[in-house]
Amino acid sequence: MILLLILVPLVLGSMAFAWPENRNRPVFLLVGAAAHAAGMIGLWVRNEPPVLDGFLFLDAVGKVALTATSTLFLACAVYAQGYLRRRDDRDNRVFVGGLLVLLSALTTVGVAQHLGLLWVAIELTTLATAPLIYFNRNARSLEAAWKYLLVCSLGIALALLGTFFLALAGAAPGGPRSLLVEDLVRAGPSLSKPWVRAAFVFLLVGYGTKMGLAPLHSWKPDAYGEAPGLLGALLSGAVTNFAFLSLARVYQVCRAAGEDAFARDALVGLGLLSMALAAVFMVGQRDFKRMLAYSSVEHMGILAVGLGLGGSAVAGAFFHSLNNGLSKGVLFLAAGNIHRAFGSKLTDHVRGAARRLPISGPLFLAGFLAVTGTPPFSPFFSEFVILNGAFGAGRFWVGGLFLLFMAVIFIGMGTTVLKVVQGDDAGTPSNPGFGDSWLTAAPPLVLMLVVLLLGLWLPRGLSDLFQSAARLVAGS
């Protein structure tokens, strides 16, 4: 089953590459997404034993990320039907194929128990998405693609170095001499300390780059700003989550080796730094897609803080990774619709979206409220749990700064979002034929409803999942 989950998208992707005509190629996306979702449901129903002598196994951590991704990808696949039909001028061969490859790579990351394999898959996600950023075929998107490609590749290379360090830590005679997470964890304290320490630094930088923690975030605003909203949703809602997952696995090893003290400080530090930087860059932001990118930086920061605080906050972090994925999906898809309908993503030109796009406009506002932690949307609960972890652990400064940055970001983001949504759209540039259609408006709407429902009633299964993921990673 797990292998199928990886292979089916891959095969469909290659078929999409081979498929001759543009018109109905997007259907592959739908098929792949549906198959993947079905597979995930299957895995929810019945746990699967490890395969390939323990290289692939879907544990709680992977399950969180893959569930979110599967949902998001399904929504994006539906959205793509409408979106790509409107962009018929473009050749979508690379786009469709790349997305399917991305899905399979992400699945691999989710189930990989071998850090080397994990690294390979992560690098593959970069390579699969870089060309898609250039979908719009203009200088700006080209620049964004190059920056994304170069910065992420460098970061990932460092992550590989870190992975090797980790391997060396266990390479002593009698050591595990393996990169399987469970072997390393079992070896625990017997790992060579200096190598583990060095390894964590390099892996933090590497996967931190992929995750977009400040100051390693520099590729994010460009890539999210220029990519189609659909891709932005997948990058910020799915790919970053898997970078976080990789970091969590590394942290798990560090904890086993008794080296987690620094790791936790570093995570909290980088997390707060990311939130601060996001705050600075969101105030008075005129480009609402770049704004969303910085919001993603902020939320990666929140995840890092949650993981670093340990205790109950870790479960909150996993919960938040799900919430962030879904609500980012809403925001990016709605933003994409608005961008298309106005032909601009600058607040100077966009106004009265709620009037022109009766679904996407309000959704953009609702998504903003959700992502900034307004009850009863689910992100409120995850952020509150993380905050509670901070105060509960007596780290009042962390909690205070957390709240401060949240407040600044709320104001900064709110100013931009409201400029876009409210007011009278008369006299703004218009782009006929890009109003709300069911295929483009329903997916974000459904995601929004999911976010709301999770806030009103969190299924027992999910909350247990977060708990066990936290127990796996942080032993709490």
Partner: protein, 666 residues
């Protein structure tokens, strides 16, 4: 007596929350849809009010808890006298407002705008009810934020107007900041107690670091309540919203802040006197400066909004006194302070809504809220002017109306503080009484100005000259409110038992502990009714006497202009000039902006004088500070290069930095 069941309360919440739906579904037949919406809201309110009345009149409330599967949450509801007391305005006023809206904001004319308004109106009502019923921090916060967002959307009803946009966002940002303070409070307490049910929070220790918690509470709830200097969001928001929304926000929404303050301070074990004194001081400042700022306004609704700040100040003074009483173990202080504050919560919701409805019908008739363009409406809008006068007298704390009763109770509480032992600094709480007197004097001055400038004299503009009386559906809600004001003012003693129960619940004391002050208050209140009766009797007698003395119609003439026989409306004393003497004394804090072009030469051309008073906190402190911060942010960003090399360098530096941090950490 109706049995008070959780189902009843839940049903009330659900009905009110969903009351906007008929309007949404019946867009084809707007009138019917709106009527159904209003009916649903009224029905829900009636249910809830029934429950509240039952609890206040002594039938026990309930406290139930059901599992709510979100982190830290549980569906815990509690209806005790304290919640019931706040349920009265929370459910009563919106019901009347929705009736008022039938003609003030008709769906048949305004379509989608009205539909949205009704949706959010019901949502706000339901969430406010949920807030006072919630017995779990997460549930409370959920209701709290839904309330904030829904009311934000209400302020945004006319979202094309720049004024509304600015006001609405200021409000949303302020509300959110306040909520964050509450996050901190709930986190600290919740993680200390290991549960987020209020039930498990009783008897929090008030010593040591708890002062910080209290500060968080003051910020979090103070912003919502509009305590000076956290009131900055309030005038704009209340002015920008449609009048029955302003009534809802000004009359009811602010009170949830007071409720939160009461509910949370009630959890603490013997809070120190300093807490009470702090609240008392804040209240006095809000009261005096609030009414001072109100005097300086010439936008009718901004003026009323500032009066909310004043009245919240009075309420805060009452609560502060009660806190002092708890600190010093003085039941009289506890009861009088609490009763005064709590009763003023109800009273203010009554007369402030009445006044906003009045302002609404004035705007409805004259299409302006500017006092300088109104006047003489008493002839064309007799009913409105009379009802508005009742509200004005009530808010000025004049007998025999309800405003007097609550202010009298607070003043009485302040005087009780004198009985504290010699040398106790808390005894200076007595100065609250003269502060109240000052506030009352200024308020009556301000409403003399309003009543005069709007309804008396002769019209100052065309619109005012051709104003027409508002339809019944707008007058009836006002009449109901006016009647309630008069009833409370004439028979205050009837409310004492309810206030007694609520006070005991809040202070966590057995009712007997407060029995004697309650009894005394009731006795005095009966005397008040007696004097009121005498007043009315005397008035009647004088009127009869006058009728005897003046049979038949009296001759009419021009107003005596001191030998000037051709007065024009423009010669009238305007509201601004009326208030000029007093506002002059506040100039040190208000900084009015004056545009004065004095008459020059022997034959002066048109001279002009215009003055406006910006909000001291928002316009003179907050906005400049924020724009400064924004400039800093932009400046920082200007330094941020965009070349890909720099991005790589950033990566490199990040690596080096973390490495060296690690090395230092070693």
């Amino acid at each position: 007596m109706v049995p008070v069941t959780p189902a009843l309360a839940v049903l009330a919440v659900v009905l009110t929350t969903a009351s906007g739906l008929p309007g949404l579904l019946l867009r084809r037949r707007p009138a019917l849809g709106q009527a159904l919406s209003s009916a649903a809201l009224c029905a829900g309110s009636a249910l809830g009010l029934g429950a509240a009345a039952a609890v206040l009149s002594g039938s026990g409330g309930f406290a139930v808890s059901a599992p709510w599967h979100v982190p830290l949450g549980s569906l815990a509801l509690r209806l005790d006298p304290l919640s019931a007391l706040f349920l009265v305005p929370i459910l009563g006023v919106p019901a009347l407002g929705s009736v008022y809206g039938l003609t003030y904001f008709p769906q048949s004319l305004l379509g989608g705008r009205a539909v949205r308004l009704q949706l959010y109106y019901g949502l706000v009502t339901g969430s406010m009810a949920l807030v006072v019923l919630a017995d779990n921090a997460m549930l409370f916060l959920a209701g709290w934020e839904v309330m904030a967002v829904a009311s934000f959307l209400l302020v945004l009803t006319d979202h094309e107007k720049a004024e509304s946009q600015k006001a609405a966002f200021t409000y949303l940002a302020a509300a959110h900041a306040g909520t964050f303070a509450l996050f901190a409070f709930f986190c600290v307490v919740g993680s200390a107690r290991g549960s987020f049910d209020f039930a498990s929070w009783n008897g929090l220790p008030a010593g040591g670091k708890a002062g910080w918690l209290y500060a968080l509470l003051l910020v979090g709830f103070g912003i919502k309540a509009g305590l000076m200097p956290l009131h900055f969001w309030l005038p704009g928001a209340h002015a920008a919203a449609p009048s029955h929304v302003s009534a809802l926000m000004s009359g009811v929404l602010l009170k949830t802040g007071i409720y939160g303050l009461l509910r949370t301070t009630g959890l603490f074990e013997a809070p120190p006197a300093s807490w009470g004194m702090a609240l008392l001081a804040l209240g006095a400042v809000s009261g005096v400066l609030g009414v001072g700022l109100a005097l300086a306004q010439h936008d009718l609704k901004r003026l009323l909004a500032y009066h909310s700040v004043e009245n919240i100040g009075i309420i805060a003074m009452g609560v502060g006194l009660a806190l002092v009483g708890r600190a010093r173990g003085e039941p009289a202080l506890v009861f009088l302070g609490f009763a005064g504050g709590a009763l003023h919560v109800v009273n203010h919701s009554l007369f402030k809504s009445l006044l906003f409805y009045g302002a609404g019908s004035v705007q409805h008739a004259c299409h302006t809220r500017d006092l300088e363009h109104l006047g003489g409406l008493a002839k064309s809008m007799r009913a409105t002017s009379f009802l508005f006068l009742v509200g004005a007298a009530a808010i000025s704390g004049l007998p025999p109306l309800n405003g007097f009763v609550s202010e009298w109770l607070v003043a009485l509480g302040a005087l009780r503080a004198m009985e504290l032992p010699r040398g106790d600094a808390a005894a200076f709480a007595v100065l609250a009484a003269p502060a109240l007197a000052l506030i009352g004097g200024l308020a009556s001055a301000c409403f003399a100005k309003v009543q005069g400038a709007v309804f008396l004299g002769s019209p100052r503009s065309e619109h005012a000259a051709h104003a027409r009386e508002s339809p019944r559906t707008m007058l009836v809600p006002m009449a109901v409110l006016a009647a309630a004001c008069a009833a409370i003012g004439l028979f205050p003693a009837l409310l004492v038992p309810a206030l007694h129960r609520a006070a005991a619940t809040w202070a966590g004391l057995p009712p007997e502990a407060l029995a004697s002050p309650a009894a005394q208050a009731a006795a005095s209140a009966r005397w008040v009714s007696l004097v009121a009766a005498a007043l009315l009797a005397g008035l009647a007698a004088l009127v009869l006497l006058r009728r005897r003395a003046l049979p038949g119609p009296s001759p009419a003439s021009e107003t005596w202009g001191c030998a000037f026989s051709a007065p024009t409306p423009r010669m009238q004393y305007t509201g601004s000039s009326f208030a000029e003497i007093l506002t002059g004394h506040f100039a040190w804090v208000f900084r009015p902006r004056i545009r004065f072009q004095p008459p020059r030469g022997l034959f002066p051309r048109n001279a002009s004088f215009a003055s406006e008073v910006p909000d001291t906190v928002l316009d003179l402190a907050l906005s400049p500070a924020l724009s400064f911060l924004e400039r800093i942010a932009l400046w920082l960003r200007a330094w941020y290069p965009t070349r890909v090399h720099f991005h790589a360098v950033l990566l490199l530096l990040g690596l080096v930095a973390i490495l060296s941090w690690r090395l230092l950490w070693w």
